[in-house]
């Protein structure tokens, strides 16, 4: 019998391999440098947003505003950053700081993060729509250049995804700070008693989420080349689904950065796969939901075997 704990840890990667194989089978032409590049390029911003969400989930909160936040970053970068780089850069910094403030507010006032961030999502969207009422603007040339870079042998999105996963894994799973951050999700009271500042930990995690949301917005803008306030509205759910697909759990500080990136890749691929199957866009969200339910059911199965063994 295979070790259920191992099976559970491998599940995100098995899922990714399965979806990838199925895509290759349905559309063999994707099995190439350009095919993979095309299919996976949007996985980079999704992976960054997923990591942002994961920082919040680590401390037992949930961010329902990450999608509109990514959209707002794109709008700022496509408009102000071009016309007035100093103002644009400060505006983007202010966005990251705002995340820290929100984290502090949620902790100090003991507010439910879901409610606060849901409200905040409308604030982000509102600011973005006011700045750019209809799609437009122009991505800074640097961003375009980075996102369309042609790396040798292995497509850029794959390299980027691996790099993101590894860096965050090292930071959260192996450093002594990462232990405290995950401990804050596992047993906040114990952390408090050990003399750590829960407030400080939460603010750092929220600001890291803001930073990765910022990176996601810039990466997305580099691909789309022009901005739209609504472009990333779906990212909120993608990011949550990515974390959970990757083996994370909503509470208890149980996360898996590399798995989360694999989850984000799976979601991006699943979209392409469904297009190849000629499933109408109306059904795609439903089909993606079905994929999610199947994977989570498999995980629950592995979990119950883990318990019984």
């Amino acid at each position: 019998m295979t070790n259920p704990r191992l099976l559970r840890a491998a599940l995100p990667f098995l899922t990714l391999a399965f979806v990838l194989t199925a895509t290759f089978y349905v559309q063999p032409r994707t099995m190439s440098y350009f095919g993979l590049n095309l299919m996976l390029q949007y996985a980079v911003p999704i992976a960054l947003a997923t990591i942002a969400q994961m920082f919040i989930i680590t401390v037992n909160d949930l961010d329902l505003s990450i999608g509109p936040f990514v959209g707002l970053v794109g709008v700022i970068a496509a408009t102000v950053l071009n016309s007035n780089p100093v103002l644009g850069a400060s505006a983007l910094m202010a966005c990251v700081l705002a995340y820290g403030v929100v984290g502090a507010l949620i902790h100090v006032r003991n507010l439910p993060s879901i409610v606060v961030t849901l409200g905040l999502s409308f604030v982000w969207l509102g600011i973005a729509v006011m700045m750019l009422p209809s799609p437009g603007g122009k991505a800074p040339a640097v961003l375009k250049a980075i996102m369309t870079v042609q790396t040798p042998y292995v497509p850029f999105p794959i390299l980027a995804a691996v790099a993101i996963g590894l860096v965050v894994h090292l930071a959260l799973m192996t450093t002594s700070f990462g232990v405290v951050a995950r401990g804050a999700g596992g047993n906040p009271k114990a952390l408090d008693r050990a003399g750590w500042s829960m407030l400080g930990t939460k603010v750092v995690m929220y600001m890291l989420a803001g930073l990765f949301g910022l990176l996601a917005g810039l990466a997305l803008l580099g691909l789309t080349t022009s901005a739209d306030a609504h472009v990333a509205d779906r990212y909120t759910l993608y990011s949550i689904a990515g974390v959970i697909l990757g083996g994370g759990e909503f509470i208890g500080g149980r996360i898996n950065p590399i798995g989360a990136v694999a989850g984000a890749l799976t979601l991006a691929l699943a979209g392409a796969f469904l297009i190849f199957l000629r499933i109408s866009p109306d059904w795609q969200i439903g089909a993606q939901g079905a994929v999610l339910i199947i994977v989570l059911a498999l995980r629950a199965l592995a979990g119950s075997r883990e318990k019984s063994s």
Binding site: S176, V180, R193, A194, G195
Partner: protein, 482 residues
């Protein structure tokens, strides 16, 4: 250097109208093991939390090593002063490994190679205190049974990095340990005090306190009521000092007379184990004890019976011992926690009859003596012992005829225990059957029959008439019958 590890002068703490500490003077000398006893609600936990820096006293003075603490008293200041606590509810992060949990309490475990140092630190201490512990430093806490989790928690408190170790407070440290591990801990305490560390031992197992402490302080109603060298106390004088008006004889069960050999069999179960694990039989009105070392299959058998993987022909209820994880609904009121198992009988026209529910809750407050003025308050406002009473009330208020108890007296004060023992006997006389897993040998004297577990199977079954602690211990180590 001062000979005082810590000193409290007139420390007071109130929560609203409740005076939890009413002027406590306490001195713990360097290298002294101080036993601290008292009923639940005597103020022991509050005192601990003050020492740990989790609570600030309203009045009074605290000196560490003969000097006033330099900074504002806080959890971090307490840590820096070398004070460590092993709290009754475990304060490990379940999602982290054993080594990572060591990092949580040691700010200096950082930088390159911290993990290797953390592993070595915690392993060395576990080996020193609990030889043969079988815990690996990379095991995730959530995957360890509660006894091993407690070992990790205790070992972690004794590890030393940058801050010196001055005082370790152990609150019911043996409540989830089996007899062997508990013995290892108690002998380690003596070794550690010889090195100059002060220890405060809080325990409801009086024999443990009497045998291990140098001096014993008795607390009652937020005050110190007696403080004498341990030799000057014995079980009954200690109980008397705690203000318990219950006689010691009652702590042990009377040999029960009526062996109900002719009443109906209500449970017949065998531990699911290859090669057969023996059979357990419970008759109507019987109290059946499950004994042996912790983690040798007793809880698993209870869960197996609860899941219906046995011959049962009566409704079953389960009383959890792990209150935090399996027992109480944290967000619910006391009343809701009592009535949750009886809701089906409270339904009227598809809705819960709120008046009947409140009445049921009130009735059980009287019957089992839950100490609260208002059953509508949150369950966590109760002390541990009273929370456990709520769990008993939940099981007894239901229509269950078979009550499974999973070491339910963990960390419960002696007064509460005696009340519950009496209630169990009364309920058994009225025809209910009890399966009672306990880690305390004394409690087995209340049982009509005792099954001893070893390595997942039943290694001995003892009728009340033949019961002796030696026989239980022998079977616990599988020296008999095989």
């Amino acid at each position: 250097m001062s000979t005082e590890a810590i000193r409290l002068d007139g420390v007071e703490k109130s929560f609203g109208a409740v005076r939890a500490l009413a002027g406590v003077d306490l001195v713990v000398a360097v290298g002294e093991c101080l036993g601290l006893v008292g009923h639940n609600g005597a103020g022991k936990s509050t005192l601990m939390h003050v020492l740990a820096g989790a609570l600030l006293p309203d009045a009074g003075r605290l000196t560490v090593g003969g000097a006033e603490p330099k900074a504002q008293w806080s959890a971090a200041a307490s840590q820096a002063a070398g004070i460590r606590c092993v709290f009754q509810e475990l304060s490990l992060c379940p999602n982290l490994s054993v080594a990572e949990n060591a990092r949580i309490t040691h700010a200096s475990l950082r930088g390159f190679g911290w993990k290797g140092r953390a592993r070595a630190l915690i392993c060395a201490k576990l080996d020193e205190i609990f030889p043969g512990h079988r815990i690996a430093p990379d095991d995730e806490i959530a995957h360890l049974p509660i006894g091993q989790r407690q070992m990790v928690e205790i070992a972690r408190a004794f590890t030393v990095t940058s801050a010196p170790l001055r005082l370790v407070i152990l609150d019911e440290p043996t409540s989830s340990l089996d007899a062997v591990a508990a013995g290892q801990l108690l002998s380690y305490i003596r070794k550690e005090t010889a090195r100059g560390t002060a220890i405060i031992l809080i325990s409801h197992i009086l024999g443990e306190v009497l045998a291990t402490s140098d001096r014993i302080v008795v607390m009652k109603d937020g005050k110190q009521v007696a403080a004498r060298p341990a030799q000057a106390f014995d079980r009954s004088s200690l109980m008397a000092a705690m203000g318990s008006d219950l006689k010691e004889v009652e702590a042990r069960g009377d040999r029960r007379q009526s062996p109900k050999a002719d009443s109906a069999v209500v449970v017949r179960a065998s531990p699911q184990r290859e090669g057969g694990g023996g059979e357990l039989v419970v008759r109507e009105g019987e109290i059946v004890g499950l004994a042996g070392l912790a983690g040798h299959g007793q809880t698993r058998l209870l869960l197996q019976i609860f899941a219906g993987q046995a011959d049962i022909d009566r409704p079953v209820a389960f009383v959890a011992g792990d209150r935090q994880n399996e027992g109480v609904f944290n967000l619910w009121s006391i009343a809701e926690n009592v009535t949750v198992a009886s809701l089906r009988s409270l339904i009227q026209r598809g809705f819960i009859n709120v008046a009947a529910e409140a009445k049921l809750a009130r009735a059980w407050r009287e019957r089992i003596g839950i100490r609260t003025s208002d059953m509508g308050r949150n369950i966590l406002t109760l002390s541990g012992g009273n929370q456990q009473k709520v769990l008993f009330a939940r099981a007894l208020a239901s229509d269950a005829r078979i009550i499974l108890m999973d070491d339910p007296m963990r960390g419960v004060d002696i007064g509460t225990k005696l009340e519950v023992y009496a209630m169990i006997r009364a309920e058994a006389a009225a025809g209910r059957s009890f399966l009672w897993y306990t880690t305390e040998l004394d409690e087995l004297t209340h049982c009509d029959k005792v099954y001893v577990f070893w390595n997942g199977k039943i290694s001995d079954s003892i009728e009340a008439a033949d019961f002796s602690e030696q026989r239980v211990l022998r079977a616990s180590f599988a020296e008999s019958g095989t």
